[in-house]
Symmetry: C2
Subunit: 203 residues, 2 copies
Amino acid sequence: MEPPKRSRTATRARLLAGALEVFAERGFAGASVEDICDQAGFTRGAFYSNFGSKDELVLALFQATTDRLLEQIEALLPDLATQPGTLLDAVLGLLDEAIGDQRQWHLISTEFTLHALRNPEAARALNEQRAMFRASLTRLVEEISAASDVTFSVPPELFVRLIIALHEGARSQSLLEPTKVPAGSLEHAFLPIVLDAVSQPSH
Amino acid sequence: MEPPKRSRTATRARLLAGALEVFAERGFAGASVEDICDQAGFTRGAFYSNFGSKDELVLALFQATTDRLLEQIEALLPDLATQPGTLLDAVLGLLDEAIGDQRQWHLISTEFTLHALRNPEAARALNEQRAMFRASLTRLVEEISAASDVTFSVPPELFVRLIIALHEGARSQSLLEPTKVPAGSLEHAFLPIVLDAVSQPSH
DNA sequence: TGTATTGGATACACAAACGTATTGAACTGC
DNA sequence: GCAGTTCAATACGTTTGTGTATCCAATACA
């Protein structure tokens, strides 16, 4: 029953986990292959046996984290859609709960975004992932608003873009000044206002 | 009257300009000292004659761009505060006009932010700069709202934080998907709503 | 149990980047 | 014009990182 001590998938996983850690600390460009191997407890031999290059690892890491995130979201959606509470709580809850370590996630995802802004190939992949992410959020918004008999004066898709923009901008401020801007404070201060302004009871 | 072909300040300036370019393209960590020198038309000799290390250059570049930005803002403020137009136009105008190349600025400033999130020293410098930036914006908001006899139900400082968060998040989306999210579209879609909701005529 | 295969460690060759020491040319003031 | 000085170029040694080739241990299988 014990999984073999040396399985390809296990070392790949440990290398990916190590890369996540190291990339968050030093960035994609700042991290050497050796750094990643150290973190994962391997030597470069293991690395090159599993990946062709650092770029290939970055791509694999992106896919892995992306898949995991979308999975987690799909798992959380049904609960949030049906459970009591405001639309806002549901949406913000999803954004937070689907992510483990906010700081690490922000660092990595910003790193990915920068990479994408410089690399059309990566931009396509990232935009695809973000589109799916927005689709999930949009679905959540639509379900909840339907259940509570409200309609929006703006397309939900656009509203979701707003939430994401605000959330990302706010997270950046929170991480830079944790004491002055507690996590979530900006969202909680303004999203209710927006929500109130764009929603109307349907009868 | 001709400035000497070889002045310390001139080569420093060219190196800083080159660094801006190269850092935007490859990031701080991804750019080598030689890359920067190539871009500026020098060899590494010139570099090490002017800077102690790449880190020192990054710091100098941060100071230079910061100073220039705050200068530009101070120059624009009086006009915007007095000229006709909505508060929103003034604020968004300031954010856009003070910045030359949106894409380059976003890349560099994101790069700085990431650097700050990993480096307490840099975080202090960045937060200081951002505080001054917010102070300018806050002043603009207060002046215009006073001139048009409106008061806010939220502190202007907080409102400014919202604008910045939204603006940065939105810019990220615009740069990733220029066709689907034209520059400024998110801000123009939602800021009027927020502004309307939090402001009330003072009599 | 013995043999084959798989997967990671070790060793090596090479390239890229750094930082310094030295050189030479262009300005400075005399 | 002529020293003295300044500043960037060149040349050099060192470090750091990459990728490959080989070796060795652990697993799979007969």
